[in-house]
């Protein structure tokens, strides 16, 4: 192993150590805050658990359920009990689904993941291409159309686009199913991949056409900066132009920021998925979050908060790591 390599791995080790510390403190803070918030919210866990049968439960029974769950203990003791269970990997049992929270999250996550990856790739690729075209053809009609489209979409709520897509493609044209992730009334083993894809298309497209705006506008601005740089001027002075210029200097200099931005956008993706899944009744994490919130399913809600924190943190971590490892200025910085 050369000296350079060794230094690199030491630096990388420090990087991960720092990041582990960050996620630990972040998660702890998130746990305290969300626990206290829910504790002080009007959600009554007993009522949420019993539901409509509440009328038949007397005050004494209520008292005993509270005692059984430890609801009459001091708040910090309750928090401690929850946290120690959490540390052993026990996220509790969902009240509305009557099954372990970790199971629900992992099952829902698979559904959401397919949707989010599809939307993520689509918006990334199309957004990047649109941004590049707009910047290369700055101030022409094509640039104006792209920018107009982006501003319009960036100020459009996701659920509204979802409703519009449903009305046009599912109701009027009947090309796609109205909701869910599989056909209604069919057994799990009868569902084909084509069926799943058909159910995936509308929500994924909805998420992408909104996501495209952000990516395209960022890429366009970055590309405009690159095109105005001294090194592009010098490349032109050396006779480069058009596609060669873009390929040699443009792409090279905007690819890294674009990719990292795309990973850092996990939070927006998750936020968008919550709305899109609700509109399309798509049984993913987003829909579970809305259900848990509306029906006061405390364990599930807290589990989802923790999971989404980790998910978004992972996105940001990947973004940082890519910059750290791919950019020669940080990768080979210690050579000088």
């Amino acid at each position: 192993m050369t000296k350079v390599d060794k230094n690199f791995y030491i630096k990388l080790g420090k990087f991960f150590l720092l990041k582990s510390f960050r996620i630990a403190t972040l998660l702890f803070a998130i746990c305290i805050i969300s626990f206290l918030l829910i504790k002080n919210s009007p959600i009554d866990p007993i009522q949420a658990y019993i539901g409509a049968d509440m009328l038949t439960v007397g005050p004494e029974q209520r008292e005993r359920i509270a005692e059984y769950w430890g609801l009459n203990l001091p708040v910090m003791v309750q928090f401690w009990n929850w946290l120690s269970a959490l540390l052993t990997g026990d996220l509790g049992t969902s009240m509305i689904y009557r099954s372990p929270v970790s199971e629900i999250i992992s099952e829902r996550f698979i559904h959401s993941l397919v949707l989010m990856i599809a939307a993520w790739l689509l918006s990334g690729i199309f957004g990047f291409a649109m941004g590049v075209i707009a910047a290369m053809k700055k101030d022409t009609w094509i640039d104006k159309i792209i920018v107009w489209y982006c501003y319009t979409l960036a100020s459009t709520p996701t659920f509204w686009v979802g409703l519009l897509m449903l009305i046009i493609f599912a109701v009027w044209l009947g090309w796609f199913p109205i909701g869910l992730s599989v056909p209604v009334g069919s057994l799990a083993e009868d569902v084909s991949i084509a069926d799943r894809l058909r159910h995936l298309i509308l929500p994924a497209v909805t998420l992408s056409i909104v996501g495209v705006a952000n990516v395209a506008l960022h890429t366009r601005q970055k590309m405009i900066d690159v095109l105005a740089s001294d090194y592009v001027l010098f490349a032109k002075a050396r006779g480069e132009r058009g596609f060669v210029l873009f390929w040699r200097h443009g792409l090279r200099n905007i690819a890294l920021p674009a990719v990292t931005l795309q990973f850092a956008a996990f939070s927006e993706l998750f936020g968008g998925a919550v709305l899109a899944e609700q509109v399309f009744s798509y049984p993913g994490l987003g829909q579970a979050t809305v259900e848990a919130g509306l029906r006061g399913d405390v364990p599930l809600l807290l589990g989802l908060v923790i999971f989404s924190t980790i998910f978004i943190f992972a996105g940001n971590l990947i973004a940082d790591l890519i910059y750290y490892v791919v950019d020669p200025r940080t990768r080979e910085g210690w050579r000088i």
Binding site: L233, E240, H249, D327, P328, E332
Partner: protein
């Protein structure tokens, strides 16, 4: 801003363009190559091989017939290895071979090939920039301040190389504020003041106390050098937005008369050079 600028450079010749910062030297280089920003207003004509350089011809010729040596490391792509940036400048012949040879000539070690611009020292960056022009095989080389930050040995080598290039039938335009270095190799010196040429003189006129020079500004500039009398010209170059209506140098000129304030003098031939002054003899 550049106005009233007339210069020419012939094959086999080195023209040094000197002037203080802000006199429009870099702008001139960019104008010749046609790489001014799109909001720049350009008028006048530039001829290459006797034909007018239209923007289409500029686009076709730059990097092939006309090459630029820019000012700083910022002109190198920060994410491309420098060896590759030199190789992509090669227009004919074996790219890798041409790059290796030029690196050897400028004493750039072979591992520089794999470096990124941020890893280069100031001197290495300038030598890399020089290399890009040298490998292009262009017949006109425009060097924009190619020497600052280099050690004397490398300066001499770079200058000698420009001389070689010129002696092989090419034209070199050396844009600099370093008159001393320019004099070592240049055939003609054009003096710029506030964006216009005030004098174009043979290099050997820059001698003694500047008696052989024509324009009061060139004389002043020459005398202001440390190795000469080291007397600065009082005042400063006018800002492009507040140019005098007459001779641009009139407010600072010891020879100024009422006539000088009326109109900007035209370039006239005088003693084997040209000058923009009505009093010059």
């Amino acid at each position: 801003m550049i106005s009233s600028l007339n210069i020419s450079v012939e094959a086999g010749e080195i023209l040094a363009v000197v002037g203080a910062s802000g006199s429009g030297k870099s702008l001139l280089a960019h104008a010749i190559l046609g790489i001014l920003p799109s909001n720049a207003k350009v008028s006048g004509t530039i001829k290459f091989n006797g034909e007018i350089l239209t923007s289409a011809r500029q686009e076709a010729l730059r990097g092939r017939e006309i090459a630029l040596v820019p000012q700083s490391v910022n002109y190198l792509d920060p994410l491309m290895r420098v060896g590759k940036q030199v190789r992509t400048s090669v227009k004919k012949g074996n790219e890798a071979k041409a790059q290796r040879e030029v690196f050897e000539r400028y004493r750039l070690k072979s591992d520089v090939d794999k470096m990124y611009p941020f890893q280069l020292s100031g001197g290495m960056a300038r030598r890399t920039l020089l290399s890009t022009a040298m490998v292009s095989g262009a017949r006109v080389i425009i060097a924009d301040e190619p020497t600052p930050g280099l050690d004397p040995a490398v300066i001499n080598e770079a200058l000698n190389h420009f001389r070689d290039v010129a002696d092989n039938g090419n034209a070199v335009m050396l844009i600099t504020h370093d008159i001393e270095s320019a004099l070592k190799i240049a055939d003609k010196i054009a003096v710029l003041y506030a964006g216009s040429t005030v004098e174009v003189a043979p290099a050997n006129n820059f001698t003694g106390n500047g008696e052989k020079l024509r324009h009061p500004y060139s004389k002043g500039l020459w005398r202001a050098l440390p190795q000469n009398e080291f007397i600065p010209i009082p005042g400063s170059q006018p800002h492009p937005s507040t140019l005098p209506s007459g001779c641009l140098f009139e407010p600072r000129c010891v020879k100024a008369t009422l006539e000088c304030t009326k109109a900007q003098p035209v370039m006239r031939e005088l003693r084997n050079g040209i000058v923009r002054c009505i009093h010059a003899t």
